[in-house]
């Protein structure tokens, strides 16, 4: 029994961490229409940044600044934001497919730097020397994982709240307008380039937070954690959940992460021995099927974006309930 609970805690922690990244992508793609094919670069920047800043000094690679954990995590987010800002300034003039290719390239470059700049990242060995915060006080056991889960859920809730507020605000309205028709938005005094950059960087900082928490959870990050497949998984989660809908994005994450985990278990358990070597590959194929299938049959996702979310005009005389909170 404790094994099951322990596993559920583990599962929920990872799913909640990934949900944060999916929410970041939802701001970029769902609300703003930015096709970020390099989610994993922001995620990785957050993870590497956090672990390098927060770890103990190492002989083998750069860093080990031993910063207090909140500062390290913040540093990871800032690093993800700075990277996104540079990438954004260079690529956000590109449209959909080209932006996707460019950002995908950035993510591949990121992975290669992580793998080859051994002095900086520890190379394929990953970043060592990071200790999970409060480990001395809480130990390494179930209690620690439970408390960590609570912390992650609080982070997820804060990100969700932040994005919900953003969505119903004039800022969210502006994002949707720019997504729908940039020329018209510009003719009404909005500056699409600046707004898109803001949304791109903000989404990437959120992904950086997700990566930072992920690195913290495992107290380790290596190039294996920033492979392109993660970008596709995160996209699948958003597409299945429903781009433009924050609650849907979280639901999609739990669903896809559950399906991914389950398929891995089922393949290991039931697939013929000779097929088991290919378990990972089969899962990749399944993720591809899920994305293609959803796009063909239900492109709006399980929980479609709620159109016209802010400011109904019918009850003219009533103050807006939402507006008074």
């Amino acid at each position: 029994m404790i094994g099951v609970i322990s596993y559920l805690v583990f599962f929920t922690t990872v799913a909640a961490i990934l949900s944060i990244a999916v929410l970041g992508l939802n701001l970029q793609w769902g609300n703003t229409g930015l096709f970020n094919g390099g989610v994993v670069a922001s995620f990785g920047a957050g993870a590497y940044g956090t672990l390098i800043l927060g770890g103990a000094p190492q002989e083998s690679h750069f860093g080990g600044f031993g910063l207090a954990y909140p500062l390290a995590l913040l540093g990871g987010m800032i690093f993800a934001g700075l990277l996104a800002w540079v990438v954004g300034v260079l690529t956000l003039r590109l449209r959909h497919d080209y932006l996707a290719i460019a950002t995908f390239g950035v993510a591949v470059a990121f992975e290669n730097v992580a793998r080859n700049a051994i002095w900086l990242t520890g190379g394929a060995q990953g970043v060592r020397g990071f200790e999970r915060p409060l480990r001395a006080e809480l130990g390494d056991g179930f209690l620690y994982n439970l408390i960590f889960l609570v912390a992650v859920l609080i982070a997820l809730w804060l990100v969700f709240l932040f994005l919900q507020r953003l969505t119903v605000s004039p800022f969210g309205r502006m994002l949707r307008a720019i997504r729908e028709d940039e020329t018209a938005a510009r003719s009404l005094g909005k500056a699409p380039d600046r707004v898109r950059l803001t949304a791109f960087v903000t989404g990437s900082v959120i992904m950086g937070l997700s990566g930072g928490l992920y690195g913290t959870f495992y107290a380790f990050i290596s190039p294996q954690d920033v492979l392109p497949i993660l970008t596709f998984q995160i996209w699948a989660m958003l597409i299945v959940g429903g781009a433009g809908n924050n609650a849907g994005a979280i639901f999609g994450t739990f669903l896809i992460w559950g399906a991914w985990t389950f398929s891995g278990w089922a393949l290991a358990r039931f697939a013929p021995i000779e097929a088991q070597l290919y378990t990972g590959s089969i899962q990749f194929v399944l993720i591809g099927f899920v994305i293609v299938g959803m796009l063909l049959w239900r492109p709006q996702g399980l929980f479609p974006e709620r159109l016209v979310v802010s400011q109904p005009g019918a009850n003219r005389d009533k103050p807006q309930a939402e507006g008074l909170t």
Partner: protein
């Protein structure tokens, strides 16, 4: 020009734009009188839309300058020009289809505190107060253009003529001095055209200047004064509507058919 001289709101100086070998706009110098409803006519391909886009900043001129109220705006982006008091509509309406009619209009005001990332998340009290005021004004303007009852409809679901009224409503939220209308009567049923004209004239009496591209000669002759005609990228006529009507060369050569007005 046979008009009484009034302060120009918009002037262009030797404005030119080429697309490859084609000179779409060729040295156009114009002066739009403040408080007028100026009609811009000319056959297809005359350069009307290019001139519009040069004035609104959608495209950058090869040569020449654009001035709004004496200020050089040649290098300003369209959003900055809107902030300076220059509003426009599109030949084919461009509503934000998946937003409500009301949201379309509420988007337009400048300097909304909730349009900044932090203002929208942290400065909420201020933001909602502003929103309430914007919403009220948006509903007023929607009533003015007769779209009040459609406030909650998705903007993609209203008729083409209503979309043109919606575009006018959006632009009005910015309190523009000068509004450029690109074929406001095209593809609109006559009843809505009448409404639109009424609103244009009412706004004009309130001091708003209009520059209107229109193919419907009846519309131009009845409601625009003065009239400017373009052909092959150049100004070929500039004068009052009465003069334009009397100018048989203009009518025959550039408009194809004489008027039976």
């Amino acid at each position: 020009m046979g008009q009484a001289v009034a302060e120009p709101i918009l002037t262009t100086h030797a404005l030119s734009k080429s697309f490859g070998a084609l000179k779409a706009v060729d040295g156009v110098s114009l002066s739009i009188r403040k408080g007028s409803i100026t009609g811009l006519i000319g056959p297809n391909g005359a350069g009307k839309s290019t001139l519009f886009n040069l004035v609104t900043g959608e495209i950058v001129p090869g040569e020449g300058r654009v001035e709004l109220l004496g200020e050089d705006i040649t290098t300003l982006s369209p959003d900055r020009r809107f902030a300076k008091g220059l509003g426009r509509t599109f030949q084919i309406p461009r509503p934000f289809k998946r937003m409500s009619v009301l949201e379309n209009v509420m988007l337009a005001p400048l300097d909304q505190s909730g349009e900044s990332l932090w203002g929208s998340v942290l400065g909420r009290r201020n933001m909602w107060r502003q929103e309430a005021a914007i919403r009220e004004r948006a509903l007023e303007i929607l009533d003015f253009v007769t779209l009040g009852p459609l406030a909650d409809h998705p903007a993609g679901k209203i008729s083409g003529g209503q979309m043109k009224l919606l575009e006018l409503a959006r632009v009005l939220m910015g309190n523009p001095e000068l509004i450029l209308l690109d074929e406001p009567a095209a593809g609109v049923n006559p009843a809505l055209t009448e409404t639109l004209i009424e609103k244009i004239e009412e706004l004009n009496r309130g001091g708003t200047t209009f520059l209107i591209i229109e193919h419907d000669m009846d519309f131009v002759m009845r409601h625009c004064d003065p009239v400017i005609a373009l052909a092959e990228g150049r100004v070929v006529f500039e004068g009052s509507a009465v003069e334009a009507q009397a100018n048989t060369v203009l009518l025959d050569a550039y408009l194809g058919a004489p008027l039976d007005a």
